[in-house]
Amino acid sequence: MDLDARIPSAPIEFMWDTHKEHLRLVGPRNRPKYRILVVGSGLAGASAAASMAAMGYRVDCFCFQDSPRRAHSIAAQGGINAAKDYRNDGDSIYRLFYDTQKGGDYRSREANVWRLAELSTAIIDQAVAQGVPFAREYGGLLANRSFGGVLVERTFYCRGETGQQLLLGACSALAEQIHAGSVTMHTRSEMLDVVVIDGRARGIVVRDLLTGKLSSHAADAVVLATGGYSNVYYLSTNAKGCNVTATWRAHKRGAGFANPCFNQIHPTCIPVAGEHQSKLTLMSESLRNDGRIWVPRQASESRSVDEIPESDRYYYLEERYPRFGNLVPRDVASRNAKEVCDQGLGVGSSGLGVYLDFRDAISEYGHDAIGARYENLFEMYERITGESPWNAPMRIYPAPHYTMGGLWVDYDLMTTVPGLFAIGEANFSDHGANRLGASSMMQCLADGYFIVPLTIGDYLSRHPSGDVTTDHAAFSDSETEVRDRTERLLSIQGTQTVESLHRELGRLMWQDCGIARNADGLSRALDEIPKLRERFWNELRIVGSGETLNQSLEHAGRLADFLEFAELMCRDALVRDESCGCHFREEHQTSEGETLRNDRDFSHVSVWEHRGMDHDPKLHREALTFEALPLAQRNYKT
């Protein structure tokens, strides 16, 4: 497997400019001859499809929802980082690069991270030009706030709906291109295979979710913008439909999968209420700016919240991390929450929750000021729990939220399959072992607006356009495989619903490959997953046909992929015998319970090559170098 990241040889601050100057171009008159397929219509997919179509390429965009605007980017709440330094607090490209590298615990590629920081400011400019109504100060200039794990205020926001507004901005650009006829939009369409011909990605096979009909689409390049795989845990903050199918099937066609064990558990979610629960709701991390996190000091606390005196409240983050307090990075906050709950200090009926308290902030800043910042989040909390954060502290608990792992890509965002690109959460490149708050949208839009539209031209310019059509046998072979698989799912006729099997997988993964992992648990999971997979293929029951809208069938196809993927995730977590970022191996911690990296043996990206389900996948390594920012132990204490 060729893991040459093709990092330009130039000083890091000039790398992207130098690279752009040397990229091969496709001229405006030739661009309409090239056809590009974009799978996914979230921030990355919509921005990439719109940008490439506006340049003149012929673009087809696919999403499984009924409209591109439904993609789960829409649910991002808090904000988007940009190194504008509007607050004059010492921010810079270097500082954003530094924070991202440090937040990622030195497990990302420096060149990509620097470029991300560099492009961050242009994203804000682009979004404002589209009419994204960012929050403004009294003088009419853009407002900022600070966000988890950083010491500057560089986060731009639209109340708690930043993702919605940025996605509507990207989708408006997409709508313009659809109207102009440059993008053909395929809604309620799920990609079920990548077609690789002579070593290059040449198209995809898609199932129409309303009719069950399969169709083949040939192209000159394929861009996957299909998001992350947090739903491997069944319960996560992701939308119900989020899945690993596109990236997993690409992996099975030859694309290396990088760092699958790196998944972020978000510290501020509403705790699980019961067995019936279908998803977890995130409360924006911005709440940690003013809310204080605590649990009762006594495990057997029976007093009501307002009867617990200050001295019996354990503000564990403030006590353990005086400098960052409640704003420690997500993994640190999550692990500490789990730890105090494991000690029996947790609150709520399940004991799996900690308080996030606004009492002091309300008395210090007043009801109105806190309302202006968080009103919609408070409403959301009350709507779900029936309790008002104005009267009692919120209860929160960590939940799977974002996956830093994904398809391996080079500096051009191309996977190990030539012509197959991966952008946004679907790739692995920028967030290392943990992602900073307010950086996911930044990466999606940097990839979609500014990077892939240029780098894809370099690839296309090296190949003639339109030389493969869907008449090629590879397409009909792939369609046959996909059809057989669907028929097989329908023919099992067992007794278990897809939901119940997915819940089982979720429990297993949360238990053994969740906030904290160890070799025993991971080995157990590696034994259990194949058994569960076998049960799935013997006991699943789907009612209805494959020729109409059949949501259980859709879900079953996605679960089948999760059941294969979960094994790779545990394998990766087992092989990475160190703690880093959100990958916390209990065997490797400092005396204070912090992650203990092993830079000598694990300063690399783990890239897995699929060799059929009958063979173990092969591990390849991309060594990481640290020149712009030398390795240092992450320390949020002093």
Binding site: H72, I74, A122, D125, A129, G131, G139, G140, E161, Q164
Partner: protein, 258 residues
């Protein structure tokens, strides 16, 4: 809690539909409305019956995918709430709950409770954007925007495109949806160059899609899960009138040279 559900079942577009009755038992009040339907679907599957098709995705009230007319009200009885944010504690034990798809000729039923809302996308494609390509842009702070204006634009821009406004309107009008996007962009300096071309194109597309006309019932505002104000409809009507009174300009037409 126990409930009797009266649910609209329909094979596909154009085929007839009918209500079916189902009983769900021992539902916890902390269960969400859609989770209650998930449970029903699991029970149906286990007993060999086809589950009820309904749309949902984010399940946190922002993607706009979920729909459902519940006891005659789009998104159910709680104001400012999507179906996915409803909890069974909002209903009474033993209640019969009627569940229907969005009812509008512009939103044909695809199956059971799932409807086709692509008409909304076509209205957006007709002009719901600022024409701006990706690349270097002016420094955003060079164009100050009063915070109240940005906030009002956001009040309109927070539309989730669910279609409850259409489902609630006796005429099946899409005025609230269309006016939200028109107003969002008309309020901001970035939206000015295309302001009048936009409102004309979007209103014309809205009419072409078969949505009804507005008679100021204001049911749309009452049903909107984001509580978007009908003042935006007035704003859109004013802009539409102004656009009609302006000399017609074809922005893509031949420019008069000097």
């Amino acid at each position: 809690m126990n409930f009797v559900l009266k649910i609209w079942r329909q094979e596909g577009t154009g085929s007839g539909g009918a209500f079916s009755h189902y009983e769900v038992r021992d539902v916890e009040p902390t269960v969400s409305f859609l989770e209650m339907l998930d449970t029903l679907n699991e029970e149906l599957t286990e007993s060999g019956q086809e589950p009820v098709a309904f749309d949902s995705d984010c399940r946190e009230g922002i993607c706009g995918m979920c729909s459902l007319v519940i006891n005659g009200q789009p998104h159910g009885p709680i104001p400012g709430t999507t179906t996915c944010q409803l909890y069974m504690r909002h209903f009474s034990d033993g209640e019969e709950i009627t569940i229907e798809p969005w009812r509008s000729s512009a939103f044909p039923v695809l199956r059971d409770l799932v409807v086709d809302r692509s008409a909304f996308d076509r209205v957006m494609q007709a002009g719901g954007y600022v024409t701006v390509h990706s690349g270097p842009k002016p420094e955003p702070n060079s164009i100050p925007i009063e915070p109240e204006v940005a906030e009002e634009a956001l009040d309109a821009a927070c539309c989730i495109g669910c279609g409850a406004c259409v489902a609630a309107c006796p005429n099946g009008a899409a005025m609230l949806y269309t006016s939200a996007k028109v107003s969002h962009l008309a309020l901001l300096p970035q939206g000015q160059p295309e302001r009048y071309a936009r409102v004309t194109a979007m209103v014309e597309q809205m009419e072409e899609e078969g949505f009804g006309s507005c008679r100021n019932y204001a049911e749309c505002e009452a049903a909107c899960p984001k509580e978007i104000s009908i003042k935006f409809i007035g704003r859109m009507n004013r802009d539409y009138l102004r656009a009609a009174l302006r000399e017609p300009i074809n922005p893509r037409g031949k420019m008069e040279s000097q």
